[in-house]
């Protein structure tokens, strides 16, 4: 059976073989140069600031897991499968070629049954590859997925890949048509095509040689394009995924120390690597709430602008307008949707930081920032009014030096906004009813600085965070609970680095309430005539991964709340993030209006929220008699038995 | 009463037209000057004496006109009055003026020349037991009243908030001849040259500056705003609307009135089909006169209005247009054509 094999260089004269190596080397060299240039630029990017130590094991694990499983890609099933076929097909063919090289140069092991199985598998690889390419091209051309571009480059690359695949098969067919060994029936595609060639009378060594040459040239072209096009992602993506562990998604880096205020900021290496990895798939734009609402922001465009800035060595602010920067709500849907977790919002916040330094901030935003500086909250409320909600509830106010088990951090929205106050009252009553030893800080509370940070005044944030850290340092508590997703995010992730202090043991009120219900200290939610759908806050579900707790609190005997199509980690923003409650880009419609439309479509009678900002934004879109907006705490309180120790006052009426 | 009191003359510095604010100041001066009577001094061209003469019927004992060739600047008025009052032999005079832009300017110069105390924007002046003055004025953004004291034998300049004091009935006093003297304005900055006066076009004026506003809300509908524009034209008003009208695209966002839009302070606010959410009412807090027309009895704006009408807005607006056009005696051209071709 030793002749059941393939003559590797059959019909290929020496010069053509040499040319193959030369061409391949040339193509790879071109790409290597381009990639090296990118790498150098990335290497010279600004540092990203404090980051955890790099661990190789998890990095490799991450790369393998993401790449092999295609899990992010498969969130769009069509795209995921098309790419998987393309990828694994390509991988198979590539490994096959390498094995042929080994067979040719090292040990001729592809003989007999080994060869037959090898041929058979490679046919499938080739078919998979072509199916993937064809599917991808069809998706682009039919226009069913709007985010996919139909540009010359995109279609051209697909055409190139397709041509490589097709010529590969034709090449094989041409060889089989001439040599016609019977065992090549295992290469069933080639076998079938060979028949066709012979029938067409075009079979011959000349055809084979020509196809061989064409196929080789196409491959050189492919190698050369890796460095210059989105094919770059083949190299950049593994690096990007490996290094992703150094930054948490959606997290902001501190601003560069003492920058010359009016000079454009240099991009960090991470931002540059992001830009190099982007393949323009547009998933970020497809999930962006600002884009959906018709604002000027297009996340894909921002990342591509970063690439352009990188290439042309221009400041990013010459390519991205302030309106785009102000449209972002920092919800991080874009980061989550991207297969490579490319950060979009850090570039926009950097632009905002530059605008804030220049004072190029509109009036409403200025008022909010000034109010935070003058009176410690962006709502402009008087500090003494922070306890107004507690009037009849008999809540303990913690003085400096005192201790409590749970410190209930009310936050600014919870103290000054009418919707927020209802949430605070409900939560306080629940804590009383459950017998939790808790206290509040009252008028000693000041803004955690989240709005200032997202709007771009990093120093204002650090000052605010420092004040809060100082206030917290003066009292003793086991845990801090807050009902505001933004305060929660700051306490959990940003306060310690900003204030050079220890982390605050922070818990979101949904987490604490779920715990209390589980422990039987609070009655679980009763079945009522209402249907509830849950709106996950971005800063709870996506930035901090808490999805189960609100659902646990809302669960009744007959099940949990209904989910909107975009829920959990894929939740759709309410529009208040990124300082959105005080920054308004007047184009398009309001993001909250879109979310409420989605809520109404579920047919539910109540939208449950878990953050006072979500509550106030969504409630602002309701009409009388419309779907109601209530916080998880309010809904749970309604289910507590009358006579529960709510700390005074009567059972709350529907608000 | 000590002798020094009767030597403290009270002068009212009249504005050129000697209108209600001047009369208010004169009314207050009357009380202050008892048992004497106050004098009134004005600075201006000779024609001013006509405006001065009637003031005798409101209690002025002396009427003095300090002549200038043309209208005098506040600085010239202040200096001339200071010079006159000093030359007249007054010791520690008290000067009352209306608190207007012009009046404050006069008061400043008067204060400096007389080295006097200044209490601007007051709502009441009276003598206190020691012969000094006790003056009440709004403070802290009009939230509180401050009471200040001027010691006896101190010259004082007080400007009075127009509308706070009211005008009493005229008396049947004998007419007083107007004394005329030349005004000694020496060295005071003259009136500034007016390069031009720009009339406000209600159609394009920023709502925050508009004196009159016609506004529409949800009840008006997209075509309704055409009607409102016609009405606004006839009234010389600007057109605005509630947030709903902007959201639904009936008017541009610059015309939104409310907390998240423009806060307006017109003399006249005429609202059609606006229910009046709290954020909208916050935007018209400083509107002087509010007229609201709404078919919904429970609309909060009806409670805020000086004149509230429960009716369907369209026929009311049409009827108003008719009446205003009849007054004008001509047909107003609609702002938005189309004209029906003959």
């Amino acid at each position: 059976m030793s002749d059941v094999t393939r003559i590797v260089w059959w019909n290929v004269p020496q010069w053509l073989a040499t040319l193959l190596y030369v061409g391949t080397a040339a193509g790879l060299a071109v790409s290597a140069l381009a990639l090296a240039r990118h790498a150098r630029t990335v290497f010279h990017g600004r540092p990203i600031g404090p980051a955890p130590a790099f661990r190789l094991g998890p990095a490799v694990g991450r790369v393998l897991a993401d790449v092999l499983s295609h899990r992010r890609l498969l969130e769009d099933r069509g795209a995921g499968w098309a790419h998987a076929l393309l990828f694994y097909g390509f991988l198979g063919l590539f490994i096959g070629t390498c094995l042929v090289f080994v067979h040719d140069r090292v040990v001729p092991f592809l003989v007999g049954p080994t060869y037959l199985i090898f041929s058979f598998l490679l046919e499938w690889a080739g078919l998979a590859f072509l199916t993937g390419v064809g599917w991808a091209a069809a998706r682009r051309l039919t226009g069913g997925t709007p985010r996919l571009e139909r540009s010359g480059v995109a279609l051209g690359i697909l055409a190139l890949l397709g041509a490589i695949g097709v010529t590969g098969f034709l090449l094989e067919a041409a060889r089989i048509a001439v040599t016609d060994p019977p065992f090549e029936a295992w290469s069933f595609v080639g076998w079938t095509l060979a028949r066709a060639l012979r029938a067409g009378g075009v079979a011959g060594v000349a055809l084979h040689r020509a196809l061989w040459g064409i196929h080789a040239a196409l491959c050189w072209l492919f190698f050369g394009l890796i460095g210059a096009t989105v094919l770059r992602h083949m190299v950049a993506a593994p690096v990007q995924l490996a290094l992703r562990q150094l930054r948490a998604p959606g997290r902001l880096a501190p601003s560069a120390p003492d920058p010359a205020p009016l000079e454009p900021r240099r991009l960090t290496w991470a931002q540059l690597l992001d830009a190099a990895t982007c393949v323009r798939c547009g998933r970020c734009t497809a999930v962006c709430p600002a884009t959906a609402a018709g604002k000027p922001l297009d996340p894909r465009r921002v990342v591509q602008a970063t690439l352009q800035a990188m290439r042309e060595e221009r400041p990013l602010e010459t390519l991205v307008s302030p309106e785009e920067a102000w449209s972002c709500t920092t919800c991080a849907a874009c980061v989550r949707a991207c297969p490579f977790e490319i950060e979009v919002l850090d570039k926009l916040v950097d632009l905002r930081r530059a605008l804030v330094e220049r004072g190029a901030v509109d009036a409403a935003t200025t008022r909010a920032l000034e109010a935070t500086i003058e009176r410690g909250n962006p709502f402009g409320g008087v500090p003494a009014d922070r306890v107004a909600w507690a009037a009849d509830l008999g809540v303990r106010v913690l003085r400096p030096g005192e201790a409590t088990d749970v410190l209930y951090w009310v936050g600014c929205a919870g103290a000054f906004d009418p919707h927020g106050r209802r949430i605070t009252r409900a939560t306080a009553r629940l804590l009383h009813a459950a017998g939790v030893d808790f206290a509040i800080l009252g008028s000693a509370e000041t803004c955690t600085g989240d709005p200032a940070r997202r709007i771009g005044d990093e120093t204002a944030f650090r000052e605010a965070a420092g004040r809060v850290a100082g206030t917290l340092g003066g009292v003793r508590f086991q845990r801090l609970v807050t009902h505001c997703a933004h305060c929660f995010h700051v306490f959990r992730n940003e306060l310690a680095p900003a204030a050079d202090g220890a982390a605050v043991p922070a818990v979101h009120h949904t987490q604490l309430l779920a715990e209390l219900v589980r422990a039987g200290r609070l009655a679980p939610r009763a079945v009522t005539g209402e249907t509830v759908t849950l709106h996950d806050p971005c800063y709870l579900a996506r930035h901090n991964g808490e999805i189960a707790a609100p659902r646990a609190v809302l669960a009744t005997g007959s099940g949990g709340p209904a989910d909107m199509p975009r829920s959990g980690e894929r939740t759709f923003c309410c529009g208040a993030g990124g300082g959105g409650a005080w920054v308004e880009v007047r184009q398009g419609s309001r993001i909250a209006a879109l979310r409420m439309a989605e809520a109404r479509e579920t047919g539910a009678s109540v939208v449950a929220t878990a953050c006072p900002f979500c509550a106030l934004m969504l409630a602002g879109e309701t009409q009388p008699g419309d779907i109601a907006v209530r916080d998880v705490a309010e809904l749970l309180w309604e289910s507590q038995p009358a006579g529960a120790a709510g700390g005074g006052g009567t059972r709350p009426e529907r608000s | 009463m000590s002798g020094s009191q009767s030597l403290t003359p009270v002068w009212v510095v009249a504005e050129a037209e000697a209108g209600e604010p001047t009369l208010e100041a004169l009314g207050e001066a009357l009380e202050l000057a008892r048992p004497s009577a106050p004098g009134v001094v004005a600075v201006g061209p000779p024609e001013t004496r006509e405006a001065l003469a009637p003031l005798a019927r409101h209690g002025a004992a002396r009427l003095v006109l300090l002549r200038t060739p043309g209208a005098a600047s506040p600085a010239e008025v202040g200096c001339a009055v200071a010079a006159w009052v000093t030359a007249d032999g007054a010791h520690a005079p008290i000067a009352l003026l209306p608190h207007t832009r012009h009046g404050l300017g006069v008061a400043a110069h008067l204060t400096v020349r007389l080295d006097a105390a200044l209490a601007p924007d007051a709502v009441g002046v009276r003598r206190d037991a020691d012969g000094g003055l006790e003056i009440t004025r709004p403070a802290y953004g009009d939230r509180l009243y401050a009471t200040v004291r001027v010691p006896a034998d101190t010259p004082a300049v007080v400007t009075l908030r127009p509308g706070a004091l009211g005008v009493g009935p005229p008396t049947a006093a004998a007419p007083v001849t107007v004394e005329e003297w030349p005004a000694a304005t020496g060295g005071a900055p003259a009136a500034l040259r007016v390069r031009r006066v720009v009339a406000a076009d209600p159609r394009t004026v920023d709502l925050r500056d508009a004196e009159r506003i016609v506004a529409g809300g949800r009840g008006v509908g997209p075509d309704g705003f055409r009607q409102l524009e016609v009405l606004a034209d006839l009234l010389g008003a600007a057109v605005g609307g509630s947030r709903v009208a902007v959201d639904l695209g009936w008017i541009p966002w610059e015309r939104q009135i409310g907390q998240s839009g423009r806060a307006v302070a017109p003399e006249l606010y005429l609202a059609f089909g606006i229910s009046g959410a709290s954020q909208h009412i916050a935007g018209i807090e400083r509107a002087r006169t509010v007229i609201a027309v709404n078919a919904d009895r429970t609309a909060p704006l009806l409670g805020r209005a000086q004149l509230a009408a429960l009716a369907d807005w369209r026929p009311v607006a049409e009827a108003l247009i008719e009446r205003l056009q009849a007054r004008r005696g001509e047909r107003a051209r609609p702002r938005v054509s189309p004209r029906v071709s003959p």
């Binding site: 205020p261 | 404050l104 403070a139 706070a164 500034l192 004196e211």
Partner: protein, 299 residues
């Protein structure tokens, strides 16, 4: 061109106040005992105009060391220099004495134009710019909404009644008081304020102005006796009832509370409609509205 901007800070008057003891100003606070101190909105606007007008802007305030933050803001916004005048004797001055001190400081700085806010915080009358101008003998323009510089004079636009505007030719030196809403003041980031605070400001004593505590105290002409809640004040009326529909009780109440046209007392409750709810046939309603408009003088 050198512009001098008068800036000050004081108790925020846009929020409800409390009187803790009915004596001179020390007793006025915000709810809960806090004193929220803000920079006057009109002063921010004044600085914006000064920066647009001049190539050298000096910010001037009279106040103790606490005012350093105010000057840090002004410097952070772009003022070239900042000066703070302080002496113990300057603590409880009246308007005329304060104006004297400010005028002395202006003379020392010798700017081409003084830009101030039209209204202050606690006082809110605009007397200070007028007094300073009177001391200096300079023209004073108030209510300015736009300033521009031409060859050898300034062009100042200001509002007149009815939404009209007049454009004045103003020679310098002059004092201009600007309307608070004539331009949106820019935000100054906290980082910029901190950097400015590090640069510091100049401090002047009375001696630097050629004054002594004695002369300053001697310039005070009146003293604040007390601060109270507003009370209804009787208003004079002419004996004859005015023509037109009879005034309702609400109308009379409004008259009693008074307060005049310039700024109704914001703590007073909203008044109910003067003439109740009009209903009925639309044409009759329109007639009623026309009569009202005529009575109020709108047509």
């Amino acid at each position: 061109m050198i512009a001098l901007v008068l800036v000050h800070e004081g108790l925020d008057v846009s929020t409800d106040l409390e009187i803790t003891e009915p004596g001179p100003s020390g007793g006025v606070r915000h709810r809960g005992g806090d004193r929220i101190v803000v920079t006057a909105r009109a002063d921010r606007t004044a600085l914006e105009w000064a920066l647009a007008l001049a190539n050298r802007t000096v910010a001037l305030t009279v106040g103790p060391l606490d005012s350093a933050a105010l000057l840090a803001w002004a410097l952070g916004r772009g003022a070239t220099e900042a000066v703070r005048v302080w002496d113990e004797a300057l603590d409880e001055l009246d308007l005329v004495a304060m104006a004297r001190v400010l005028a002395a400081a202006v003379r020392r700085i010798a700017p081409d134009v003084v830009v101030a806010g039209e209204r202050g915080l606690a006082g809110a009358t605009g007397a200070i710019p007028a007094l300073v101008a009177a001391h200096l003998g300079w023209p004073c323009v108030d209510g300015a909404i736009r300033l521009a510089r031409e060859e050898n004079e300034m062009v100042v636009e200001r509002r007149l009644r009815g939404g009209r505007r007049e454009e004045l030719a103003v020679p310098w030196p002059a004092v201009v008081a600007v309307a608070a809403d004539s331009v949106e003041p820019r935000y100054v980031s906290v980082g910029a304020r901190r950097a400015a605070a590090r640069r510091g400001h100049e401090t002047w004593s009375l001696a630097d102005l050629g004054l002594t505590p004695g002369t300053v105290r001697g310039a005070v002409r009146l003293r604040l006796d007390r601060v109270d809640w507003p009370r209804p004040r009787p208003r004079r009326t002419a004996a004859r009832a005015p023509a037109g529909p009879a005034r309702s009780a609400a109308d009379r109440l409004r008259q009693l509370v008074g307060g005049g046209s310039a700024g109704a007392n914001r703590s007073a409750p909203a008044t109910p409609p003067a003439s109740g709810l009009v209903e009925g046939d639309p044409r009759a309603v329109a007639d009623r509205i026309m009569a009202f408009l005529e009575q109020q003088g709108f047509v």
